[in-house]
């Protein structure tokens, strides 16, 4: 496996130069990029931590086949802030501003996979905010869900839930 250090690592100030690297944990993304992180970061990721615990800390290189090198830095950044107790409304607003819909979904899956409760909670709020007051069609597109209602069923639902079909935001087509 080619040990490569992503350029994003520097911006995350993860100690690639740290000589006592025996203590660091190597997270290997699905596309084989290695991210070295402090054990405290790994602790935030329950899935990773329980793996380390199970092997009595002997294994410090952990493959994360479901997470791409594009998403992992975001996850690490969030965990770092979380440890530092610097998760503020401002940070979260900035954090989410960088992410398009697709990235939010991918990060949500990553957080789910790694079992990072805080990130999962935060991202589910982001997703909820992004689909709140959107049309049914928009939600279907957003999540790639096929409409499996018959026209009759759909008409009935619309009738029964008529009050919610007023005040729906217009769909913005330029979402990513």
């Amino acid at each position: 496996m080619a040990e490569e250090v992503s350029s994003q690592m520097n911006s995350l100030s993860i100690s690639e130069t740290n000589p006592s690297s025996s203590a660091t944990i190597s997270l290997v993304s699905g596309d084989d990029i290695v991210f070295k992180v402090e054990p405290t970061i790994a602790k935030e990721m329950e899935t990773v931590q329980s793996f380390i615990d199970e092997t009595d800390g002997k294994i410090t290189t952990i493959p994360l086949p479901n997470i791409s090198s594009h998403d992992l830095p975001y996850v690490i950044e969030y965990c770092e802030k979380s440890i530092a107790g610097k998760i503020t409304k401002e940070f979260e607003a900035e954090f989410v501003k960088k992410l398009n819909n697709e990235e939010v979904k991918e990060l949500f899956l990553a957080a789910n996979y790694l079992n990072i409760k805080k990130l999962l909670d935060f991202l589910s709020q982001v997703i909820a905010d992004r689909i709140a007051n959107k049309s049914v069609e928009y939600v279907r597109r957003y999540f790639g869900i096929e409409n499996d209602f018959t026209p009759e069923e759909e008409a009935k639902l619309r009738e029964e839930l008529a009050w919610t079909f007023t005040g729906v935001d217009p769909d913005d087509e330029d979402e990513n």
């Binding site: 329980s50 789910n112 049914v136 939600v139 999540f143 009935k156 839930l161």
Partner: protein, 216 residues
């Protein structure tokens, strides 16, 4: 993959194992398209909300406002079944109406729901009787017709996608103002001896447009 199987066996959070499995399946779907050849949609790498484990999906749904939860119910069958769940609606009920809706109103609602159910039974019973009657007596054709019509309307209601006795229905009945419930109305009157407080029993319904109540 070693990580995944290990976790499945040894972690006391059983559901984490489940999550991992689902993820493995999803990522396989993405990477190895041959395993999912039959489904062209999958190769678009689009996340379907329905692939998410139950608990994770609930994380999102419980953060939606009532109107959006209703919208979600209109997306597909599987989401409809989830979104009408009492679990979500009890939260909304508590949040918005906890301080207002008391036992009297709830009793009134229960009574209303029960009477609806009785109606269903009565109509069915009556239709059978009416059917027989039409054979034995041509004097009452209108009654038979009427019963037939009622039954028609009623069977439509029965096929309704919402359960009558659900918290969602209860919430919507209040929110849309279709449900009138008993309340005491206090009036401050500006009389000639100063302010006077009058109080009377009334039925009230909510108007979500103006966020006020109407009394009758």
């Amino acid at each position: 993959q070693v990580l995944l199987s290990l976790k499945t066996f040894s972690n006391n959070h059983v559901w984490i194992g489940l999550l991992c499995q689902i993820h493995t399946r999803m990522s396989l779907g993405k990477k190895n398209s041959s395993s999912r050849v039959e489904n062209v949609e999958e190769s678009k790498e689009e996340l379907s909300l329905l692939d998410l484990p139950e608990l994770t999906l609930e994380c999102i749904l419980e953060k939606l406002p009532p109107s959006s939860l209703c919208q979600m119910a209109g997306v597909c069958h599987s989401l409809r079944d989830k979104c009408v769940s009492d679990y979500f609606w009890e939260r909304h009920m508590k949040k918005k109406w906890d301080g207002v809706i008391g036992h009297a109103a709830y009793r009134e609602w229960k009574w209303y729901v029960a009477s609806k159910r009785e109606d269903v039974k009565d109509f069915k019973h009556a239709t059978q009787r009416g059917f027989l009657m039409s054979y034995f007596s041509i004097l009452w054709p209108f009654q038979w017709m009427k019963l037939k019509v009622d039954d028609g309307i009623d069977s439509c209601k029965m096929r309704s996608s919402l359960v009558v006795d659900s918290v969602m229905k209860w919430y919507l009945a209040i929110e849309t103002g279709s449900f009138w419930f008993p309340a005491q109305v206090y009036n401050r009157e500006n009389g000639h001896v100063g302010f006077m407080l009058s109080c009377y029993d009334a039925k009230v319904s909510y108007d979500s447009q103006t966020n006020t109540f109407q009394a009758k």
